[in-house]
Amino acid sequence: MENPTQHLTPEEQFQARIDADVRIEPKDWMPDAYRKTLIRQISQHAHSELVGMLPEGNWITRAPSLKRKSILLSKVQDEAGHGLYLYSAAETLGTTRDQMLADLHSGKAKYSSIFNYPTLSWADMGCVGWLVDGAAILNQVPLCRTSYGPYARAMVRVCKEESFHQRQGFEIMQTLCEGAESQKAMAQEALNRWWWPTLMMFGPKDEDSPNTAQSMNWRIKRFTNDELRQKFVDMMVPQAEFLGLTVPDEKVQWNEARQAYDYGEVNWDEFWAVVKGNGLCNRDRLGARVKAHEEGAWVREAAMAHAAKRAERELVAA
């Protein structure tokens, strides 16, 4: 019997597999643009995990109890782990971690802009977990079904841990909101600072996001930015109410017709400023990473030199 796909071009065969929800694996043929887009997307995600260690790492030494200190350190450690899975997933597409890091350090590669906001109080550890991880999960859960196999599998592990982190963040907020007046004020102040930046995490409005169609076609993106942003608002507004906190947007109100919350307009000038490197922490974040990398060079060289010596000795002994 004739194979129905044999007259198709490789591109058509590729798209047919995607449309049939068959996973693409490293050795499969794939269009260059797909490969490049994925490398950009996965490495950007990996860099976000790496840079994302910094705003939370900022409070490890000041966590208010031994239990919270352990939980926070453990969470940041998980982020390092996510970074590792994701760099590995990206490497299956023919790049290297060194190359990806070089692109991060030169500013060529991006990471999530949310990490260019500072963490100024302990309540920020709550907001980062509750809101930032909450937004990340909405972005990421669909990626567990993304078309590229290694990425999808990495995301399954990442999402499992992220939802755990999100619960921990919510629990920090809840403890504050059930605590003293000073704690509740701290929680509200943090929410005021983090609300809008997390809405920006879903990216520009759909009309300003020209690559969405292609990415959705390739199933490396499954919802539009505005769809996800709406989902987020609908999820978070009731949670804020539950906590007794006020979302800092006067336009937030339930729209019975849409069965969704209306909300105000994001400050897109701020969004683009931060993307372009003009956030409060862009330089400090990238500076910290570059410093760690440069000051660690001799350690990496030593480890390689020792491994080489050892391999040679084993060869001689064999």
Binding site: R62, Q77, A288, A302, H306
Partner: protein, 249 residues
């Protein structure tokens, strides 16, 4: 009981301060995998810290909690040896500090397994598994750095010169420790020291490094006489509890 409380507190302070120092690396390590490894060791030490403070609080019987003990005592009340409060420095400093501590920690916990105090023996048993891995990690890095490049060798030698003088305190018994040893409640440090020396010689030889000789050993931390570094650790560590006393987080 009061003496045992003091001693358990000393062990808890030690794990806490070293864990805190290691946690300062988080996000700034030389290799992502080593960020993970150091965070892991820090987490193990924090876990041990909490078990020890909880036990100390119980021994004291004054209703203080683990957090009261960690967050509401001053630098001169802290009883950790000087070694663990020394700054992270470069990665070689951190590795050498860790190696000196792990070498003590592992051999000390091993002796503590058969301790007359069952709770302490139980904590030791859990921590020993972790300490075994820590000592493996720091020993391997001593070897890598010593037998790596010229630069790594130069750096690790410098770290050894700087930090070795803090190693003697670990096995120099204080009045408190002597008293507990006399009661048979904690091991004699001669035995611990012998195992430590043997291990250090093996590792440094493999690392092609010389064992420092005739080092003047600094002491005082276990009696509350610290270096100035501890004060700064505590300003960060305790800031929230000092600012908002008595709240739940």
């Amino acid at each position: 009981r009061q003496q045992l409380f003091q001693f358990v507190l000393q062990l808890a302070d030690t794990s806490l301060i070293l864990g805190h120092r290691l946690s300062e690396w988080c996000g700034h390590g030389p290799i992502l995998e080593q960020d993970l490894a150091m965070a892991n060791i820090a987490l193990d030490l924090l876990g041990e810290t909490r078990s020890l403070y909880q036990y100390a609080a119980q021994l004291e019987g004054q209703g203080r909690t683990e957090d009261d003990l960690a967050y509401l005592r001053s630098a001169t009340e802290y009883r950790n040896p000087l070694l663990v409060e020394q700054p992270n420095g470069d990665f070689a400093d951190t590795v050498v500090r860790q190696f000196l501590f792990d070498n003590f920690h592992y051999h000390f916990l091993k002796q503590l397994l058969t301790n007359a105090d069952e709770r302490l023996a139980a904590i030791a048993e859990k921590s020993l598994k972790e300490a075994t891995y820590h000592l493996k990690w720091s020993s391997e890095w001593i070897i890598r750095l010593g037998d790596g490049t010229d630069e790594s060798r130069r750096r690790v030698e410098k770290s050894i010169t700087e930090l070795w003088r803090f190693s003697g305190e670990l096995t120099t018994p204080t009045a408190l420790e002597k008293s507990l040893q006399a009661m048979g409640l904690i091991p004699e440090y001669e035995d611990v020291q012998a195992s430590m020396t043997a291990h250090a010689e093996r590792v440094l030889t493999e690392a092609t490094l010389a064992i420092p000789q005739q080092i003047f050993m600094l002491t005082g931390g276990k009696d509350g006489r610290h270096t100035e570094h501890l004060g700064y650790i505590l300003t960060e560590l305790q800031y929230m509890q000092r600012t908002f006393p008595g709240l739940t987080w």
